[in-house]
Assembly symmetry: C2
Homo-oligomer: 428 residues x 2
Amino acid sequence: MNSPLRLGIAGLGTVGIGVVKIVQAHGALIARRAGRPIEIVAVSASSRKKNRSADISVYAWEDDPVALARRPDVDLVIELIGGENGAAKALVETALKNGKDVVTANKAMLAHHGQALAEAAEAAGRTLRFEAAVAGGIPVIKALSEGLAGNRIERVMGVMNGTCNYILTRMESAGLPYETVFEEARQLGYLEADPNLDVGGIDAGHKLALLAAIAFGTRVDFDNVHLEGIGAVSIDDIRLARDMGFAIKLLGVARMTGRGLEQRMTPCLVPETHPLGQLQGGTNMVVVEGDAVGQIVLRGAGAGEGPTASAVMGDVIDIARGLRLPTFGEPAADLTVAAPAAVSAAARWYLRMTLLDKPGALARIATALGDSGISIDRMRQYGHEGAHAPVLIVTHKASSDDIGDALARFEATGVLVGDPVALRIEDV
Amino acid sequence: MNSPLRLGIAGLGTVGIGVVKIVQAHGALIARRAGRPIEIVAVSASSRKKNRSADISVYAWEDDPVALARRPDVDLVIELIGGENGAAKALVETALKNGKDVVTANKAMLAHHGQALAEAAEAAGRTLRFEAAVAGGIPVIKALSEGLAGNRIERVMGVMNGTCNYILTRMESAGLPYETVFEEARQLGYLEADPNLDVGGIDAGHKLALLAAIAFGTRVDFDNVHLEGIGAVSIDDIRLARDMGFAIKLLGVARMTGRGLEQRMTPCLVPETHPLGQLQGGTNMVVVEGDAVGQIVLRGAGAGEGPTASAVMGDVIDIARGLRLPTFGEPAADLTVAAPAAVSAAARWYLRMTLLDKPGALARIATALGDSGISIDRMRQYGHEGAHAPVLIVTHKASSDDIGDALARFEATGVLVGDPVALRIEDV
């Protein structure tokens, strides 16, 4: 048997303990698969005494996680501290400098410092991998950077925040408004300490930026991910969309267009017959489209002890086997700086508004659309009582600029009650 | 730039030409990803002059595919000839012996000779990979043997013959009997020259046997895959199953049980709400369940030029990058010989039969079930004209032995008209 791969684990929360459990439970199995034993040597966390569901007393302990990076008996550091800066970043930098490989689940750190860290790994001749940072247990980084490496990638899409998908599907199934389900999710512990990371789309936006870098060979560019959260999605929109055959999802989309790199994390309508439209609850899904392979759909748990630890161990076993890949699939120096696309690709749009119930109101809206160069696929005016008429329009393909123009014209008609809702329909 | 990886391609049918096109179209992209250029040096096929959709005149030509394995200017042989023996096997054996790596899409060859070829590859210190042999463009071999390598795999399932899934979904959508849709599929060119490879489940059974070997660390054992084709599935069963919330799929299932390795490729009912139940047309789906990761679902094109060539190129790029994995994820010598499970795990069953419409008929069937130790979940007797009453039963969990016993008791009641239908309901 070859020499063991010796791990230092920083962070013993849910995922860290999940990794410990896998190594403890499957030592022999993993050694056969990896061609060498994989052993935990040392660990670090905020408290040594905390009650944990795995025995860590047999491992060396470091109060300072960065000390793991300096131990001569550690070959590979697993960073599960989290946070885009601070101890996590210091640990990864020190580990690489000291000739350790690194596996991390830290999407925020990579979304902000991915290029610098990838360069540091290459300069040190070490490997930095992050399967667990995107879509939990789904091996999507591997699929994209290895299995589909023969393809020019055309689009990467995904539902990558389980909490948001839970909220949206629960709103529909229970007929509850956003605020109520948000509160439920908070009480169930589904939300981050800063809930905006979830419902504002930031967490999912980090993941999308990482996927885009691999898909298009570009430097991670989280700052140019167009982010819209789910806070403005109403139960009415969810129901009306369903009525037209669509589901509303917080959908991330990255594509390279003639006008630059488009990265969006926004509520979108998707056909209810597509796997994306059928995705319920906290499950994640990533869709990869390549010029040769067509559309590949990957579905699985996006978070949790077992799934995330499974992804960490996939990276660890790769490294134990000797697989040395650049962090984003290509040498960091080759990654290009993509110009962000100012206008997103044309799409159909779902428009909902309330009109004053007076003669000519609908005609003015239809005219405004026509004046913006947008044609109508379907329009429905719903039955109502009182002076306000709910109207729903599905347009033919239009750019986000054209839609912005139309919304301004709607405003000028004077027949709108409140603000209209405009949601993109992503063709899948 | 590092030295190029030089390919010899044997077989220039759909997939071979797909590989040529990818190498020609994406040379620079692939070189960046692989860290070295990938070049085609020599090709071989049955006819040099055949009209092809890619220019092969720039490559050296060999009339005898095995000659590719002897060329000093070839590093890696791509075997796309097909067939479990003959030229394909001779080529792979010679290539390995001569120090070439091998990538193949040949499921029949590996299902029958996988162990010997894996041993030959290891003895020669070369790599033999076969992503394209299972589920076309879906990178499932990679997901199972690498991304999920930290898991004890609990079950692998899949719809892995697009033609069968096309036939079953077309029967339902068009309301046509099996024979008619089979004939349509034949005329559309969807069927193998020997259609039993498709509709008899043999092709999909080959794939299942390969997945099982990786999942459970066992020697490929195609002979013990329990095969039932789709020829006996009727439009009535498809409709009645739907009526109960199920879809009928040709589903492969492999699991390691206390009684041994269970491998089945049979028509099964799956819930219509699960991605397996929603799979339409020729698309493939593989479901992998691991103890840490839970359930991962992979969906994509299972055949065709682009998807299959994408899978071949994934393997080629892996090898160019230096990834050297045992053929089945563990050293061939470590793969165990699994005892085949004689009885499949307990499941709910769908039973359909026609009874003589006379007093006590249904009671006799219910009694027979009870005497076999099987309890009833749901039972429906459908309205009818004439002397024959259609009856549908969904049982609680029962073993295949118990069901066999019940079917014998049904026969003995004397109230059956024709043969009853018994289909397993796979819990997903």
